[in-house]
């Protein structure tokens, strides 16, 4: 039957045309996307410490059971206070490392005597849950040297960060993967 095979040929021809047009269209779109991104670096999530209000969402909203956002310390900014408002509860019984005096619920801040009257505070990252209680304390009365950062050895780099969605101050931003931290330095202010 000549007519039926003609029909088949025509259908094949149209089909090929549509497929090729589709492939060219898709290629064009990919070209547009590639052109738009240019040679820019891929991005990862990070907390802008100047926008962070230490609300505590980092601890609970991360898709990981133990949040990828943790507290870090800018040592050159720290005042090395004996009464550290990031370390101690308001009105502590005593200025020692007793659990009842500490702000940190997991005891993740290590207090070490340096010289009279200075103490050094460092973070035991394995214990930190990213609740930002110390950050809040340090920002309220101290130099603001304790701050939150997304730790990239833990972060899954979700397509849309779940903490970013819950962040009230829009402090979560996409930063270049080659430079993935927004560190606080001396002189950047409390």
């Amino acid at each position: 039957m000549a007519s039926s095979s003609d029909k088949l040929d025509r259908r094949q021809f149209v089909g090929n045309g549509v497929r090729i047009a589709g492939a060219i269209g898709l290629g064009g779109f990919v070209g547009f996307l590639a052109g738009r991104r240019g040679s820019a670096d891929d991005t990862v999530w990070q907390i802008d410490p100047n926008k962070c209000i230490a609300c505590g969402n980092c601890a609970t909203y991360c898709v990981l059971d133990e949040s990828a956002a943790k507290c870090v310390h800018s040592y050159p900014m720290c005042g090395y206070c004996e009464l550290c408002t990031g370390y101690f509860e308001p009105d502590p019984n005593d200025l020692n490392s007793g659990a009842e005096n500490q702000l940190c619920p997991t005891g993740a801040i290590v207090r070490k005597f340096v010289e009279e009257p200075y103490h050094e505070y460092s973070i035991d990252e394995a214990l930190c849950i990213g609740c930002a209680k110390c950050v809040k304390g340090c920002n309220a009365f101290g130099n603001g040297s304790l701050y939150m950062q997304v730790r990239h050895d833990r972060c899954l780099n979700c397509n849309e960060c779940a903490i970013a969605v819950a962040c009230p101050s829009q402090a979560f931003v996409r930063v270049p993967a080659s430079n993935p931290y927004l560190l606080k330095h001396k002189g950047t202010g409390a």
Partner: protein, 424 residues
């Protein structure tokens, strides 16, 4: 002492307690551990390409269900459990939409690859990506134990949901309101073995439903499946049920758990044909009406929809707070006030966003109308079929039907002696 310290802090403002100059104390360094090595991205892309080639080969060349199941398992382990579900072709739709509407957003190379390659393959070979490369598809494929047939009308109606979901996902991604496909991904919690309670519950429900109803996410939710369906319709080399000619034995009729096998058509009487034509005419006339109604509805619904965007939500809240209509403040409004930006700026931004929502909401409504209209038109068009064949839009090329076909069995038996001789 505390009082002195605080008043000193107020005076200095920036550096409340000047850092001491230690003579012999080395300050520790803040560590900056890096994430995944960026070169892995290229590995992901290469693995995706290899997966697509293999899936197409197993489905179309080898016609091997075993190969497809094996590949699906690997995909589930690699993209699911190892990569934790977060380089995903379905989610890539949102990154691509955001990149189109927001030039400042950098869309990762992997995302472009995960968006384009599966579509390209589907255009030529059908939904082989769904068969064995998508980790979400793999989970559902491997957990389907007792398929139950879904009535045609339910299947067709629920099949509209992915198109609507797709439209909504593009709208919210394009306006920067959020990535809803990622937020409501039911299986990602399963891959990560953690997540919020609501989504885990949803995931478990879907897994249980999936024991009986084949691929509930793929068929009734997956927005990428909707695009694949359109692309697959024109695929040149799609999976066939028989290896060669269909002998119309009807053995494969119940083979498909996804309701994708269409039987051969029976000739119509002239009266039936006339009725069908009239119906098609009505549906063609109805489609533009649905589009117009949808556009109107979408335009009106855009204002409540815009509340999904946090900036709009914040502006609303700020307005209420300023007017004294609500008591107290929330973290978000406090944070905004702390920035020192005037509230007016926020309101202007929110209004601009509202306008964008109104435009895109109208488009979304029109899209929904168009989808429903086209579905009705499509259901009214009769295409002549001479053999049992998979509906390319619904078929995910899983290969379950191959072994039902006696012609396939015949070829397998014929191949058997040669296989034995070659020592396999």
């Amino acid at each position: 002492m505390m009082v002195v310290a605080v008043s000193a802090a107020a005076a200095l403002a920036v550096e409340r307690f000047p850092p001491p100059d230690f003579t012999d104390h080395q300050l520790p360094q803040t560590t900056t551990p890096h994430g995944r090595w960026l070169g892995w991205e290229y590995f992901d892309m290469a693995a995706l390409a290899a997966g697509l080639v293999l899936a197409s080969y197993f489905a179309l060349g080898r016609r091997s269900r075993k190969g497809l199941v094996g590949l699906a398992t690997v995909a589930m382990v690699w993209l699911g459990f190892w990569r934790q579900g977060c380089v995903c072709a379905i989610g890539a739709i949102q990154n691509v939409s955001l990149a189109v509407f927001d030039p400042s957003y950098t869309v990762p190379l992997t995302v472009i690859a995960f968006f384009a390659l599966p579509l390209l393959v589907t255009l030529f070979f059908g939904r082989t990506f769904c068969a064995a490369v998508c980790p979400l598809g793999a989970v559902q494929e491997l957990t389907l134990v007792r398929p139950v047939r879904v009535p045609g009308w339910v299947d067709q109606s629920l099949g509209l949901v992915p198109f609507i979901y797709l439209g909504a996902a593009v709208l919210f991604a394009a306006t920067g309101a959020g990535f809803i496909i990622c937020q409501y991904d039911p299986y990602v919690g399963f891959f990560r073995l953690s997540g919020n309670a609501a989504m885990i519950t949803f995931g478990i429900c879907l897994l249980v439903i999936g024991l009986f109803i084949g691929r509930p996410y793929c068929r009734y939710l997956c927005p990428l499946g909707a695009i694949f369906g359109l692309f697959s319709r024109v695929s040149g080399r799609h999976v066939r049920i028989p290896p060669d000619e269909c002998i119309q034995c009807r053995l494969c009729e119940d083979a498909c758990p996804y309701g994708a096998i269409r039987p051969p058509t029976v000739p119509q009487t002239p009266a039936e044909r006339a009725r069908g034509r009239r119906r098609l005419g009505w549906m063609l006339a109805l489609a533009p009406v649905l589009v117009v109604v949808g556009t109107g509805l979408g335009y009106t619904l855009a204002t409540p929809l815009s509340l999904v965007h946090r900036e709009v939500r914040l502006a609303e809240r700020m307005k209420l707070e300023e007017a004294g209509k609500v008591e107290g403040t929330i973290d978000a409004s406090d944070a905004f006030r702390n920035t020192g930006r005037p509230a007016r700026e926020l309101y202007t931004e929110a209004i601009a966003l509202r306008e964008r929502f109104a435009f895109l909401g109208g488009l979304l409504g029109g899209w929904v109308g168009l989808v429903i209209g086209m579905k009705l038109v499509h259901l009214s068009i009769r295409r002549k079929r001479d053999e049992y064949s998979p509906d390319p839009a619904w078929c995910v090329s899983c290969g379950r039907c191959f072994e039902y076909c006696p012609s396939e069995q015949q070829t397998l038996i014929q191949e058997l002696p040669t296989l034995e001789k070659s020592g396999v």
